[in-house]
């Protein structure tokens, strides 16, 4: 078991003939991911690493029954590519591309919601279910199969933490990158819900950072979760940020700070690491029954189902 992607996921790579697309298509194939097709407008009929390339996602669905996409196309064309994938009925669309205009991102999310498609990203490292499927650009050697679900806003920091868990013998069920942009598809809560329902996941690690209110919302949800959670939040030393005008301040209304996030998480029973390399130790503790620190923790057994 895993969430979002597994060994049955049939993947199409959009932007398969570009430098990034070509390189990571090969890496995903090498990992064992079922990459069935590539799409690059105007390049239909070519092959990349033996994988057939089409002009449209529609054809990749028709000929290969693909049900997930990883998008590498340049930012100006990304909205079109994402709409194409969503319109083609794919279940999961992972957008690696960064610097997508935020209004394009809002449009993509509105359309995905209308169609019931799960979007991961943009500006994400992707999703990996170790040993099963890798849809993204993360370094494969940092991961191993196991009971820990990781959900992170940032890439390299989560590689670091995953690698430390792996080194400590704590493999992962699935690792999900939400992406670094303000408007993204999946959020913490939506991923945590899936981990809560996933039999293979016994504990979750949340890698957050300052800004926005996603961690606070995650904390709300975690209060009702049966599985233990560990978190690390980056940005403690950041100076009071450059504000987005009054509207930004009004939206967040005092939330979004490091202290606020840590307080909310701890109040929800999450063990919050002060330094990134302490995460592995905390996960070990909660898996061996150390349990959550807060008073609002779950009443069900802590080491899963």
């Amino acid at each position: 078991m895993a969430i979002l992607v597994d060994e049955k996921t049939r993947v199409v790579i959009q932007g398969a003939t570009g430098n990034q697309g070509r390189f990571h298509l090969a890496q995903m194939l090498a990992y064992g991911t079922r990459v069935a097709a590539g799409v690059s407008p105007g390049k239909g009929g070519q092959e990349v690493e033996g994988v057939p390339v089409y002009d449209t996602v529609e054809q990749a669905v028709l000929h290969h029954g693909v049900n997930a996409s990883v998008i590498f196309v340049p930012a100006p064309f990304c909205k079109d590519a994402a709409f194409e994938a969503i319109d083609a009925g794919l279940g999961v669309v992972v957008i690696i591309t960064e610097h997508i205009p935020v209004h394009d991102a809002m449009d993509i999310m509105a359309f995905a919601r209308q169609r019931g498609t799960v979007v991961v990203g943009p500006n994400t490292f992707g999703v990996i279910s170790p040993g099963k499927a890798k849809l993204g650009i993360m370094p494969a050697q940092a991961y191993a199969p196991g009971p820990v679900g990781i959900v992170a806003r940032s890439g390299t920091l989560s590689y670091e933490i995953a690698a430390a868990l792996t080194a400590a013998g704590l493999g992962q069920s699935t690792v999900v990158g939400l992406g670094g942009d303000r408007v993204a598809g999946l959020n913490f809560v939506e991923v945590l819900k899936r981990f809560e329902e996933d039999q293979a996941t016994q504990a979750v690690v949340l890698v957050g950072e300052i800004g926005g209110t996603a961690e606070e919302e995650a904390a709300e949800y975690i209060k009702g979760m049966s599985k233990p959670a560990v978190a690390y939040v980056a940005g403690r030393s950041a100076p009071p940020g450059k504000r987005m005008g009054h509207a930004g301040a009004i939206i967040e209304r005092g939330r979004g700070t490091f202290e606020g996030k840590v307080r909310a998480l701890e109040a929800a029973g999450v063990r919050v690491a002060t330094l990134p390399w302490e995460v592995a130790g905390l996960v070990e503790e909660v898996l061996s029954g150390g349990g959550p620190a807060g008073e609002t923790g779950p009443e069900t057994p802590l080491d899963g189902e």
Partner: protein
Amino acid sequence: MKLYEHMAKEVFGRQGIPVPPGRVVTTAEEAADAARELGEVAVKVQILAGGRGKAGGIRFASTPEEAGRVAEELLGTEVRGLVVDRLLVEKKLAIDREFYLGIAVDGAARRPVVIASTQGGVNIEEVPEKLLVRQTVDPTWGLMPYRSRQVARRLDLEGSEARQFSQILVRLFAIFRSLDAELVEINPLALLEDGRLVAADGRLNVDDDALSRHPDLPRVEEGTETERRAREAGLSYVELDGDIAVMANGAGITMATLDIIQHYGGRPANFLDAGGGAGVEPMARAIEILLSRSPRALLINIFGGITRCDDVARAILKVADARGGIEVPLVIRLVGTNEEEGLALLKERGFEAYRTMEEAARRVVAAAAAGNGGDDSGHTRR
């Protein structure tokens, strides 16, 4: 990209949102001329920061002579840390009440959000929640007039005020969408004594990632000289007030690196994210920029994913070659993709590298404190 008030107001005016008559000036004479034309005026410094009223950046003048004098006093000064090089001279408004109206991106809702209040003005951030109307807008169909009437209704506006407000909101939303804005804001949206609603101030921040779609917009530069150089090199760079320069790859890991330095008692000099698989050239440029600020020590923290460790090593060696050595203590932490190659390249030239963030962070803090990186760098300070 933030636009100056006068630019935002020009956009507003073109879209039919009422703004006060006014002129941008850069000299006292121009200010006096403007006042001669406009009568009693407000003279407002044009800087990319809020709170300028409280900082003395907004003054009033009854005569052209006074306007010239006030302009003279303001031009060239610093307001909220920013040099004043232009002023907006506007006809003074007879304001009855001040509303607030803003549209921003609500990341949690993944939608635009309209925020409005009849209690606008300088203290909007302290207005109690119940006096604020928030309404997210499905971008699918945009903000249609009925939605703006709903907002007006919730603010308890009636008659002419409701009508003017609704029209302004529809137009402001059109600006927000068509110009790829991250934020548009009118604060205060002034209800004048004669019953008209006028945008007395204006803010318009455009999404940097969408600027290429708006070639007609003016380009406004922000930040220090070094920050601009970094931006031109495609780097995400912010200056801080410490003395340990930091380069890492990825926003999260960079932030975490700063946190760790501070945790061990050090003071970071900057935030520099060279993430996203930067090659040798941009990374070398990044290191040059960091060294140009004369830090007491430099930490390079790389966990290679897309970023290749051998490229990082080459970037370091390139800078060392160009400068005849790195002049401050350099601490390197290098793991991940092509780690072996990278370490080998560095070792060849006498550079050592750590495998963990912990060791590297402790070392760089110690080096900055001692004013010497010692045996790690093999190079002497300038």
